[in-house]
């Protein structure tokens, strides 16, 4: 995948993710509705490829205004990933030389790899995660399970133990998938399923769309680092 293709694909996927978020906000009819109508329009322009350099910059400025209005991210990590992608896109577009453009977009790929690796590392060094207790706590009393019936999963400690190790193993080994395009493809399919399950069980639908929009960067990165 060429750098230009990867950047364009990222813009399309990010535009779709932002449009989805903006429509949700508009529906909630808050006093910040105006900001999200503008964001929706800019997201559509990003998807269709209309002056994407300036649209990405405007989306970044709007993102900062929204960050200020909510005094932080509205949806934690998902919003932060959205801002990171926007910053990397803007830097890549305004880079004076192709090398700097690659560094800016490569930073996004690196952060994507770290997002899995660090998440896995902080879990595996925690005894509660290794024993399955932490995931049991998530289901038992955290605010994330989408229904009361899901809390009953706490009665299946062997399942939660297996799930804990499956998550930690995947997150820690994700970086090694860069060794070949086949392994990276498989890893990205597993990652998509992982975010899909999180969206179903914990209602984290914004993470699903935003993380997927960063995938073209790692596809380009792998090709650039391994084959060139």
């Amino acid at each position: 995948m060429t750098l230009d293709t990867a950047i364009r694909l990222t813009e399309i996927l990010l535009g779709i993710a932002f449009a989805q978020q903006s429509i949700e906000h508009i529906k909630l009819s808050s006093n910040k509705q105006g900001l999200f109508i503008i964001r929706l329009l800019l997201a559509v322009l990003l998807v269709i490829g209309f002056h994407t350099i300036w649209v990405a910059c405007l989306l970044l400025v709007l993102g900062l205004i929204i960050l200020q209005r909510f005094q932080g991210p509205y949806n934690g990590g998902a919003d932060r990933m959205g801002l990171l992608i926007l910053c990397c896109l803007c830097l890549a577009h305004f880079s004076p030389a192709p090398r700097w453009q690659e560094i800016a977009f490569g930073y996004l790929a690196l952060q994507l790899i770290l997002s899995y690796f660090i998440s896995g590392w902080v879990k595996i060094v925690n005894r509660d995660w290794r024993s399955g207790r932490a995931l049991s706590d998530v289901f038992q009393f955290s605010a994330y399970p989408v229904s009361e019936r899901l809390r009953l999963w706490v009665n299946y400690p062997h399942l939660l133990f297996f799930m804990s190790w499956a998550v930690m193993t995947f997150e820690l080994l994700f970086a090694f998938s860069l060794l070949s395009s086949v392994s990276l493809g498989i890893a990205l399919i597993i990652a998509t399923i992982f975010h899909f399950v999180n969206a179903c069980l914990f209602g984290l639908n914004r993470f699903f769309w935003i993380w997927i929009s960063a995938y073209p960067s790692i596809l380009w990165f792998q090709h650039r680092i391994i084959y060139t």
Binding site: L64, L67, Q71, G72, S115, Q140, S142, V146, N205
Partner: protein, 159 residues
Amino acid sequence: MRIKLKVFSNLLHTLKLLLPALFPSWNFFDVIAPSPRIQFTLLNKEDDSPLEWHEFRPRPVHVSLVQMLKRLFWNPKWNESLFMLSCAERLIEKYTLHSEDEILNHITKELKNTPLNGILVDATYLQFRLIVLQRKNDQLYEEPMFLSRTQLLSTQNFL
């Protein structure tokens, strides 16, 4: 001069909010922290003692697979609840008027749209509290952590 200082201070604050996005920590669920719940009460007078606390947006007993799939595309209420959770966590960490206002305003908006309106019309004040759930050894404990100010409800909020 004062305006310039305020603009500079706002810019600095926004930059401070942006930095975790540029250099993320990615330590999702590293520890399962005590989990806050928002409960509210409705009062007739500002100095009334609360009699009954209601959970803000209690989760449903069951969500079907089809609903889960729909929520992948359309989940505004849940995402708003997650933002309320963030505000609650911020309040527990360090009081901010913004977080208290956001929670009060969202509860008011929610009351306006609930079928309970009929029995709530008489209430004139709203107050919320934060209860924190945590596990100590094998037991779950609830601990009240924050009590908000009482906010006057306009009758227009409910009618």
